[in-house]
């Protein structure tokens, strides 16, 4: 397979391939964090997660259009505003959905799965009615396009780097929020012992709503980031859903670190296999390996062994 290439060429390829794995990793992290927070905290499987992402993407699309028409001078920076908007719009919708739907279903996790699937159908069709069935093209500011040439062979895509930075910031932000803030303390208290948390005066319903909104908001940021590397169409969100769930489940439901480790493992495995096999087979093998490991270790990678 490597016949006829110089060692420097091979080095470059491996560097590039490592980078490819890393950018897949950041995609997975962005996708899975929101889901993991919701799943870990509330045991809710949000099948509409992909649609929340796409809402973020459409928000970015609209923002870009707005800047092009009214503030062309500031176009270079619209993306940051779009991300913030995407976060808040998705979070607001998330809170609404929590209030209307999810909170009635906390004791029935499998039912949340079905209800949110219904929600995802409705959201998809709503996008189709509003934005049309076709994917929309999101214009990016000039500085985000292109690549930084490192050597002759190695180019680092700027938007890939940017997605990585976003993924890292979101991950760090979530970590700080969950483990270093009063909110996080309350969240963990509710996860561990809801009645007790309520007894000491934590508004658990409020915590749930905030958490669901946070998860959806992160999906929104992910959606904004994905406009740079993926497609924005009514059903684009569906493409991510299985991968995302597997990342979360594989990581161990209540562990954010687990989610990140699992995202790393799956992305590296997939991108390595993609290099040696065809894309389809790489995907199949990755999924099978993950399913296989989950069968051996159903609690996921990082779940704590606890007395139950």
């Amino acid at each position: 397979m490597f016949d006829g290439y110089t060692s420097s060429e091979l080095m470059s390829i491996f560097a590039m391939q490592g980078f490819a794995g890393l950018s897949l990793f950041s995609v997975f992290v962005l996708m899975a964090l929101g889901l993991a927070i919701i799943f870990g905290q509330m045991g809710v499987i949000n099948m509409a997660h992909g649609e929340f992402m796409i809402l973020g993407a459409y928000t970015t699309y609209l923002t870009s259009g707005f800047f092009q028409s009214y503030l062309p001078g500031l176009f270079g920076g619209y993306f940051f505003i779009a991300m913030v908007l995407a976060f808040f719009i998705c979070a607001a919708l998330g809170a609404l959905v929590e209030w209307l739907m999810i909170r009635h279903l906390y004791h029935r996790p499998l039912d949340t799965l079905l209800a949110t699937w219904g929600l995802s159908l409705i959201m998809q069709q709503a996008y189709r009615s509003i934005f049309g069935a076709r994917e929309v093209g999101v214009d990016l500011p000039e500085w985000m396009m292109g690549a930084i040439p490192v050597t002759d062979m190695v180019d680092l895509p700027i938007n890939g780097l940017f997605v990585m930075v976003i993924a890292l910031s979101v991950a760090v932000g979530v970590y700080l929020l969950m483990y270093r803030s009063g909110y996080g303390k309350k969240v963990r208290a509710v996860v561990q012992n809801r009645p007790m948390a309520e007894a000491v005066g934590i508004n658990s319903a409020g915590i749930d709503r905030a958490t669901f909104a946070l998860g959806c908001g992160i999906a929104g940021i992910a959606g904004a980031a994905f406009t740079m590397i993926g497609s924005t169409g009514p059903s684009s969100g569906q493409a991510y859903i299985v991968d995302t769930f597997l990342v979360v489940v594989f990581g161990g439901a209540q562990s954010l670190i687990g989610t990140i480790v699992s995202a790393f493992g799956i992305s590296q495995a997939q991108s390595t296999m993609e290099f040696f096999l065809s894309g389809s087979m790489a995907k199949v093998l990755t999924l099978l390996v993950v399913i296989g490991i989950l069968m051996i270790r159903p609690e996921g990678l990082m779940a704590l062994k606890v007395r139950r």
Binding site: L304, K305, V306, R307
Partner: protein, 252 residues
Amino acid sequence: MSIAKSKSGDFLLAVEGLTVSFDGFKAVDDLSFYLDPKEIRVIIGPNGAGKTTVLDLICGKTKATSGSIKFAGKELTKLKEHQIVHSGVGRKFQTPSVFEDLTVFENLEVSYPQGHSVIGALAFKRDAAVIEAVEDVAKTIFLTEALHEPAALLSHGQKQWLEIGMLLIQKPDLLMLDEPVAGMSVAERKKTAELLRVITKDHTVLVIEHDMQFVGDIADRVTVMHQGKVLSEGSIDHVKSDPKVIEVYLGH
């Protein structure tokens, strides 16, 4: 202590060197104790002493890290839960867990030791023997009147009895009861003690209990656990006067 009697075949249950650790925390630590046939043994101890974990280990709910549990000569640590049940160990949980949707009769019928395989459950017929066994047990657990009520309508105490009844109909050699009188009225406690005395005519019983009055009423011997280990063992009066026990319960 009875370590000297180790490996003897007289015991119904011999727990030796039992240890289980959860992420480094040893909930049960090198625990050994022995039950004679037809004995009523009560395990007491402060919260977190590992009492419930011991029952979990014996019935297979939790897998031991090391050590052995011999029951009537059989090693239990290697068996699955249902196999442990089939070898004659019945377990009642702390909170009553009965099938609320089913009637008392059906609850007992489900526990009747026949038709436990998939095929068996498909072929199972409610014959005279089943009905007789169910009615027998129902009488023992004071639920004859309520036989065709759904279990959801029973009082808390009645549910506890029903669960004991569900164990009885399995005809186990060893019954393990986790806090059987918790949340019961005084009258119900009395009746439960009475029930346990009836049961011990044919069974060995291992009970976890906090209520010292009740313990005194029923126990042949008492094992006191602390931090996963046996702190003291003997008659109720013996352990009550054991300074180590007093230290643990009254000290700190």
